[in-house]
């Protein structure tokens, strides 16, 4: 027997599913296909020409300030690792609370999502970023004033150019009330903002938000990685304090599979485009760059920072830390036709871990205090790993990591990350072999 490389078993299964159901597949998570990623980069470390810092004696700072370009109250975070926007609606209220608890324990920020701000997450988040999305579900000036930063969401990595859909089975009474819609119906989220179009309008919109909040709050602009060079330049021109750049591996609660896997570019390719844009405007490190989409380990954090990011943001990794896809729930995942490590039906609302659900019984299984501790442990681990790598490169602050510390394992990664192929001085597209 010989399996077709073109029509492999996954392709055949999808054709059969499409023929059976007559509709595209919707799922959660982010891109699952293999793309050039941080795994394709290595740190050179120190040797004779560079000297390292002593691991347990010499400090390696991790603090970061976000949004000091225009805001009177920029965010001062202890670690450069934040929690990405995930909606109450997509996630249960206890899960949102746990994200706030974990982030706060580590002195960093978490972010609301498409659905508004809950009391649980505000109450347990020392630093909370409030998203302004096209749907404006739950948007109100009181929450604008009590947030710590505002994030205008133009797009996300899983679906640049796409809106959202929260399926009816996740629309509980509370979710429906927050979104001003009936219970139990599919809730569509628009892909364009209702009251501005294009970069000139965005500048005016940012001005309005600053006026409403008396110029206190940093204003982030989040874009999905695609035409990153131009998007970043236009967002900076519009007045953004912080750019949030989400690669195609970034998670989603519910999006068409074809969208997740075929739109947008890997975060590895997008970061250099953003940094180039910022540098040309003399705004690198003045407008901070937060990157997301496939950040899993301290190595990923360190590599993103070395490429020029000021901070990273976690979504899928944070959910896994809370307990999503836990092996202890194997029998329950099996009942849903899946297994730990594979469960991505976050749109369905039947999450046995009680995280991506609005079912009261399922949500009650989730302990937000324990979840918060697990998330804090994960963030602490990422921070220690990042510091370990930075010290090995001789850096007393993780922001001192630089592209010169990196090499690539593949030609593709070298071209995208704009660092030399390991063992050579060749940066494809920039230098001759």
């Amino acid at each position: 027997m010989r399996e077709s490389a073109t029509f492999d078993r996954n392709v055949i299964a999808e054709i059969q599913r499409a023929a059976r159901e007559g509709i595209y597949d919707i799922r959660g998570w982010g891109a699952k296909r293999r793309v050039p990623h941080f795994d394709d980069l290595l740190f050179l470390g120190a040797s004779v020409s560079r000297y390292p810092l002593e691991g347990y004696r010499e400090a390696c700072a991790t603090d970061v300030v976000l949004g000091d370009r225009h805001a009177s109250r920029p965010l001062e975070l202890k670690i450069p690792i934040t929690i990405a926007g995930m909606s109450f609606g997509a996630l249960s209220a206890p899960a949102k609370e746990a994200l706030g608890r974990g982030a706060t324990a580590m002195g960093t920020a978490t972010t609301t999502g498409d659905g508004g701000m809950t009391e649980e997450e505000r109450g347990h988040s020392e630093t909370l970023v409030y998203q302004l999305l096209p749907s404006r579900y739950g948007m109100n000036p009181d929450d604008l004033r009590r947030c710590d930063a505002i994030e205008i969401v133009v797009g996300q990595g899983a679906k640049p150019g796409g809106g959202g859909m929260l399926l009816g089975q996740k629309i509980s009474d509370r979710v429906a009330e927050m979104r001003d819609l009936p219970k139990g119906i599919d809730q569509r989220s628009a892909c364009r903002h209702p009251d501005w179009t294009g970069p000139d309008d965005l500048e005016i919109k940012i001005g309005e938000l600053r006026e409403i909040t008396d110029w206190e709050k940093p204003i982030f602009v989040k874009v999905g990685a695609s035409r990153t060079y131009y998007d970043v330049a236009l967002a900076v021109k519009a007045g953004a304090d912080v750019i949030v750049l989400d690669g195609m591996q970034g998670g989603t609660a519910a999006t068409q599979e074809v969208f997740i896997e075929h739109v947008g570019i890997p975060i590895l390719a997008a970061i250099p485009m953003a940094v180039e844009s910022l540098q040309e405007l003399d705004m690198h490190r003045k407008v901070q760059l937060v990157v997301s989409g496939g950040i899993r380990t301290g190595a990923d954090v360190a590599k993103a920072l070395a490429m020029g990011a000021d901070a990273v943001s976690l979504g899928v990794g944070a959910l896994i830390a809370l307990g999503d896809n836990a092996p202890e729930l194997a029998h329950e995942y099996a009942a849903l036709g899946t297994a730990p490590g594979f469960y991505d039906d976050w749109q369905a609302g039947r999450d046995p871990a009680g995280i991506s659900t609005q079912d009261d019984e399922l949500a009650a299984r989730f302990d937000p205090e324990l979840g918060g501790r697990r998330l804090a442990n994960y963030l602490r681990t990422l921070t220690l790993e990042t510091q370990t790598l930075a010290r090995a490169c001789g850096k007393s602050h993780v922001h001192n990591l630089e592209p010169e510390d990196l090499v690539a394992l593949t030609v593709e990664a070298a071209a995208m990350a704009r660092v030399p192929l390991a063992g050579t001085s060749w940066v494809p597209g920039a230098t001759s072999a």
Binding site: L181, D186, I204
Partner: protein, 231 residues
């Protein structure tokens, strides 16, 4: 509507910055009545107010005038640009002239009155605001409108109420076309009562009986492949 105080706080935007005006309007106890001169098309005039006050803007304003308003009454003696009273929570915003695109976008409460015409996408994603337009409205009015009422005394452009949820639309004149999932519905006594009250609140002279009502057919509430062509 709050009682009108005897004294009026006057701000001339030819001399005072917009930042100063908005900062003063955000104070814990702002003056109860304001007159703003020479707005000259400025954006974000009188945004983010949360007080029982009255603000009269004497001239044309740019984008987002009275954005996210709570409780206040804001009257514009001129025309308003894009996003008038966007995300209004409560209170009243009245424009004597015309309004640009996305008037009252995502508004969650309160009343917005446009004495002239309103451009495209008025009431887009409205979430409880009542919007009364004495003139006509452009295309895609009440797109994805969730809650509240849109009253159009003139004509409505193409694709009125596209992808509408539970908002109620009343139009006196012609409708160029209805958007996906928007249908004409019966104008019952309860609707006439509601419409009369709205017209009275907006101080717009019109006979409720002359209007027709439109709303959601609710065919798109749960995704069904048989309705895919409507998306």
């Amino acid at each position: 509507m709050a009682a009108i105080a005897d004294t009026v706080e006057s701000v001339d935007l030819a001399d005072v910055s917009l930042r100063d005006l908005n900062q003063r309007l955000h104070e814990a106890s702002p003056a109860p009545r304001w007159h703003v001169a020479h707005p000259n098309g400025a954006h974000a005039v009188a945004v983010g107010i949360d007080a029982d006050i009255e603000v009269e803007v004497d001239g044309h304003v740019g984008y987002y005038c009275a954005g996210m308003n709570k409780r206040a009454t804001v009257r514009v003696r001129g025309n308003a640009g894009v996003g008038l009273a966007e995300n209004i929570m409560s209170g009243t915003v009245v424009v004597d002239g015309y309004a640009g695109q996305s008037c009252a976008a995502t508004g969650r409460g309160g009343l917005v009155v446009v004495r002239g015409d309103a451009s495209a996408r008025c009431g887009i994603s409205m979430k409880g605001v009542d919007l009364v337009v004495a003139g006509s409205v452009g295309h895609m009015g009440a797109f994805m409108a969730q809650k509240g009422c849109l009253v159009v005394c003139g004509d409505a452009g193409e694709a009125l109420g596209d992808s509408i949820y539970e908002a109620r639309l009343y139009v006196r004149g012609s409708v160029a076309s209805l958007g996906a999932d928007c249908v004409e519905k019966e104008l019952a006594d309860e609707h006439l009562t509601e419409l009369r009250a709205l017209l009275e609140r907006a101080d717009v002279p019109a006979d409720a009986a002359d209007f027709r009502r439109y709303g959601s057919a609710r065919r798109l509430y749960s995704f069904d492949v048989d309705n895919a062509g409507a998306y």
